[in-house]
């Protein structure tokens, strides 16, 4: 099982990967620095789950999700973002996101969103 972590911050990618491991999931990780890089990676080798930031240069997380769905790609995807606007949450779920985890997040919050997705 592989998770693609998409964030323009190397620090945040490390934090997300560590939090997933600490939550007890035995997964491997791939990384991408923005939506455009993630799109290429997903097309080449679809992961089990994409955990993406919302605000990123070149291609945002929501743009990535729209592009994936537009080309019929149903890869599981959720957001890990500092955004918490209700309108953005609506936008994310309408586009097919499985979760929207707001930074800063707790280990319990990671478990709560990944539990239904990875089991």
């Amino acid at each position: 099982m592989q998770i693609l972590v998409v964030d323009d911050s190397k620090a945040m990618r490390s934090i997300v990967m560590r939090a997933v491991r600490q939550a007890g999931y035995d997964v491997t990780f791939a990384e991408a620095v923005n939506g455009a890089e993630a799109l290429k990676a997903i097309r080449a080798s679809p992961p089990s789950l994409v955990m993406a930031d919302w605000n990123m240069p070149e291609m945002s997380g929501i743009e990535l999700l729209h592009k994936l769905r537009a080309e019929g790609n149903t890869v599981k995807m959720g957001f890990v973002t500092s955004e918490s606007d209700p309108s953005m949450r609506d936008q994310a779920f309408q586009a097919g996101a499985l979760f929207m985890l707001t930074k800063p997040f707790t280990p319990d919050a990671i478990k709560a969103v990944l539990g239904p997705v990875l089991t």
Binding site: D8, S9, K10, A11, M12, S14, I15, R18, N55, M56, P57, T81, S82, E83, S84, D85, S87, T102, K103, P104, T106
Partner: protein, 160 residues
């Protein structure tokens, strides 16, 4: 953005957002406000992030001296004392991410004061923000662990 905007109230929202991030993402339970001023010390560094509203924009900043930035970044990344100092690039990346997370908390807290805001991307800087004819700067100094952090709010001045 409204000319009647209470910038000190917005600075309070920024302080609250930072305190939450300090407690959660940084694992630093104790933050102690040290008062407000017009600018941080000139040699400090940190990250700014813009928030755009329909009628104007704000910039939020988080600044500290080199050691303070290392403390913030290392706290975010849960680094042990034995691990070597972060490189300049790693430091900038981590402090920018802290600014990003704080801005998200600020955005939700300030929604009732300024309406919907759009987050920009953070940038790392050296030196203080400079007030101009059109923009003012408010600074809140916060004691966090062994360092002092400056929270900056760059805001449009009321016209006329």
């Amino acid at each position: 953005m409204s000319e009647a905007l209470d910038h000190h109230a917005l600075l309070g929202s920024l302080e609250d957002a930072f305190a939450e991030v300090a407690r959660t993402a940084l694992g630093q339970g104790e933050v102690s406000p040290q008062g407000h001023q017009d600018a941080p010390p000139p040699r400090w560094q940190g990250a700014y992030i813009g928030l755009v509203a329909g009628q104007g924009s704000l910039q939020l900043g988080i600044a500290a001296d080199e050691g303070g930035c290392q403390l913030l970044a290392r706290s975010l990344m849960s680094m042990a004392d034995s691990e070597p100092p972060l490189s300049d690039a790693e430091l900038a990346d981590a402090v920018c991410e802290i600014a990003n997370i704080v801005a998200g908390g600020f955005k939700s807290r300030a929604r009732d004061k300024v309406g919907a805001l759009t987050l920009g991307l953070p940038v790392f800087f050296h030196g203080p923000a400079q007030a101009t004819e059109h923009t003012g700067v408010l600074v809140s100094l916060i004691r966090l662990a062994s360092t002092t952090v400056a929270l900056l709010l760059v805001h449009p001045r009321a016209q006329g």
